[in-house]
């Protein structure tokens, strides 16, 4: 089963993305704590793209495709037309450095990496696909 959702690049629409994911995942009998972490990972990638790749421009859009395979594997595709940011090559800061520097950002992609089994960026001429896999 494939579920699709398209949303303007505005931070205020992150809640709509989460609602869409909640609806999709609750159809598939996944435990609540797992559902929440999957929603979190997708929310983090979307927030990063909306803020950093699209400067919160609501005239631009990101698309979501969620594919549930036989109740055991889920693939989330987050599709945009920005510059493309390679999550898997991202150098993680350490938690202690973040605490020391008192900065409020920088742990979103760490969460995505801990939550998902596999993350890939498929870069095309016109669009980027950020693909997140999780085995349930």
């Amino acid at each position: 089963m494939v579920y699709k959702f398209k949303v303007p690049c505005s931070k205020s629409r992150l809640g709509d993305i989460r609602e869409f994911l909640q609806r999709v995942l609750s159809e598939n009998a996944i435990p609540e704590v797992t559902v929440n972490t999957l929603i979190l990972a997708v929310d983090e990638v979307c927030a990063n793209l909306i803020i950093h790749s699209h400067n919160c421009n609501p005239d631009e859009h990101i698309e979501l495709k969620v594919k549930v395979s036989g109740n055991s594997e889920i693939t989330f595709d987050i599709i945009d037309r920005g510059d493309g940011f390679n999550i898997s090559e991202y150098q993680e800061p350490s938690i202690s450095d973040i605490v020391k520097s008192k900065r409020k950002g920088g742990i979103g992609l760490m969460l995505v990496r801990r939550i998902m089994d596999e993350i890939e960026l498929i870069q095309g001429k016109k669009k980027n696909v950020y693909r997140l896999h999780k085995k349930i």
Binding site: L14, N36, A47, G108, L111
Partner: protein, 113 residues
């Protein structure tokens, strides 16, 4: 969206975080903690009605860890649901922040009991 409420009882300042803290709403949590830490030494954060937190919200709590230590401010988070608590656990932030189950325990800690 998030709603933040406050109350002061004796010298314990309570911040109630209600709803969802994400990249669009974490600024309100930040303002509220910033304001509280400038005026109070004993702060408890009631998260019984916190339904969701993303890295933006976790980042707000993390950014105050050093200030709390340096300024001798006690801040305890309590009442997290299982799913929200799990988000704090993914990166081990539950070890860096003071988190308890109940309001009584939170008050005990800020009172040095």
């Amino acid at each position: 969206m998030v709603e933040i409420k406050n109350s002061l009882e004796n010298d314990i300042f309570t911040i109630y975080v209600i709803g969802e803290v994400d990249a669009s709403s974490s600024i309100y949590l930040d303002e509220s903690i910033s304001d509280a830490t400038s005026k109070h030494k004993k702060i408890i954060v009631n998260c019984k009605q916190l339904e969701y937190i993303s890295s933006a919200g976790l980042g707000v709590f993390m950014s105050y860890i050093n200030d709390l230590e340096e300024q001798g401010i006690k801040l305890v988070i309590y009442g997290l649901s299982d799913k929200v608590r799990h988000v704090f656990q993914i990166l081990g932030l539950d070890q860096l922040l003071k988190i308890t189950d109940s309001e009584e325990e939170a008050k005990g800690i800020v009172n040095g009991v």
